[in-house]
């Protein structure tokens, strides 16, 4: 069999033999299984994944009837800021709705964290209210918990990234615990205001980027918000395949947060009142699409099996098997989508 055109996680094209691709699928699924202590993909699933990757068509797609919904993080940042198109956020939302056929969208501010939204909350509310008048699709409001913003000099707490390497572990932990309280207040304040302005849901993006404290603050905030607004949807998108233990001892509902993998993260999210769980597995740019996709599909399958709520796989740049490039290739993106929907059974992307 001739070599198969595929890609590496850095987005560059590569020609690999069938044997190499199958070996990468075996290694990728084994790596995920070993890390998260979950089952590997079955032989049939690995064979089907090989078919998806080796398909000679440039673009592949899910079978008719297996379509899923698509949600967005950094929603209105994409067209107006990253693509540099001169349009306001309402126009961006309508473009997503009427030109790009999006199933949902997120209104967000360029300073994509909850803390800096506080002083401009009135402007954000106005933007949400106008967008809701014009649009039909669900419009969420979203930002990142971004705990780093609570450390000196940006915030009131000591910087645990400096304290930890200095061996000052109790102080580093105390600083994180202090920051959690600030973050919960800010998230609840911003989210409540945006819900009062008509948001269809609140998105927590890149949860855990600053470690387990970030996860704790987000889930505690969801719990408060869900009690306050029981019919509102809350989507929580994670930062990585396991919760990084910057603190290491933090708990939610009596369970240690650090070290949890997607199939465990989702159960904790459910208990907090999360409506849609966004799992994230970082793409390894040095490995092939086959390795990365086998790995993420293994994590995703276990998370979907464990979940009672919808699981969306984060398939943005450098996540979920998508190559780590600002312009990821369509051939790789389409294969990621097909594998995650048809093999892992995710509820959305």
């Amino acid at each position: 069999m001739a070599n198969i055109l595929t890609r590496y996680g850095d987005n560059y094209i590569a020609e690999l033999s069938e044997e190499d691709i199958r070996a990468d699928i075996d290694d990728g699924t084994a790596d995920a299984a070993d890390r998260a202590q979950i089952p590997e993909l079955t032989k049939d699933e690995k064979d089907y994944l090989f078919e998806i990757i080796a398909d000679p068509q440039k673009i592949v797609s899910v079978e008719r009837g297996k379509e899923v919904v698509v949600s967005f993080d950094a929603g209105t940042l994409k067209l107006t800021v990253r693509n540099g198109i001169s349009m306001d956020r309402s126009a961006a939302i309508l473009t997503q709705e009427r030109a790009l056929a999006s199933d949902s969208i997120e209104l967000c501010h360029v300073d994509y964290s909850y803390k800096p939204i506080k002083p401009i909350i009135a402007e954000e509310r106005q933007a949400m209210e106008q967008a809701q008048l014009l649009s039909v699709l669900p419009v969420l409001y979203g930002a990142m918990p971004n705990m780093g913003l609570y450390t000196k000099p940006d915030g009131p707490c000591d910087n645990w990234s400096e304290l930890l390497p200095a061996g000052r572990i109790p102080e580093a932990r105390a600083a994180q615990e202090e920051a959690i309280e600030h973050a919960i207040k800010d998230i609840v304040f911003v989210a409540s205001n945006m819900i009062e302005s008509g948001a269809d849901g609140i998105n927590f993006d890149t949860v855990g980027a600053s470690g387990d404290a970030d996860v704790k603050a987000s889930l505690e905030a969801v719990r408060i918000l869900k009690e306050k607004y029981p019919t509102t949807g809350f989507e929580v998108g994670m930062a990585g395949e396991f919760n990084l233990g910057m603190h290491g001892q933090l708990e939610f509902d009596g369970e240690i947060i650090a070290g949890l993998y997607p199939h465990q993260q989702v159960k904790m999210a459910e208990r907090a009142g999360v409506s849609i769980f966004g799992m994230a597995v970082n793409t390894n740019s040095s490995e092939s699409l086959a390795w990365n996709l086998a790995r993420v599909t293994t994590f995703a399958k276990a998370a979907v099996k464990a979940a009672s709520i919808p699981v969306h796989a984060n398939v943005g740049m450098g996540v979920g098997g998508i190559p780590l490039s600002v312009i990821p290739s369509c051939d790789a993106v389409s294969r990621v989508d097909k594998a995650l929907v048809e093999i892992a059974g995710v509820d959305g992307l």
Binding site: A99, S104, T232, V333, S334
Partner: protein, 103 residues
Amino acid sequence: MAVTHESCAGMGGIRGAGDLVFRMELQGYKINDAKKYVAEKLNCPVEYLADCAEMKDIRESLNISTTQPRPDAAVGIQAKFRIAEILGIPVNSVELFKKQAGF
């Protein structure tokens, strides 16, 4: 990339019934349950939900907006009034509109 995702795996937003199915996922329904719920409310087979031909007719007949709404058709918040009623769920912006308009 958004276009690739939507073309390869998405439900097509208001070209299909992606917005409606998403609203049910926000209520905690998993994808197949969300599709089933929406199909029942629209009185159509589940297979129609991502089919732009069938859904154009359904959306126009229910007056819940499409990508190219015609004159006299409901758009924006108007369409969402109808969506809330058809799906039988509260839509936050609709509730806010009612409050602001003094309903």
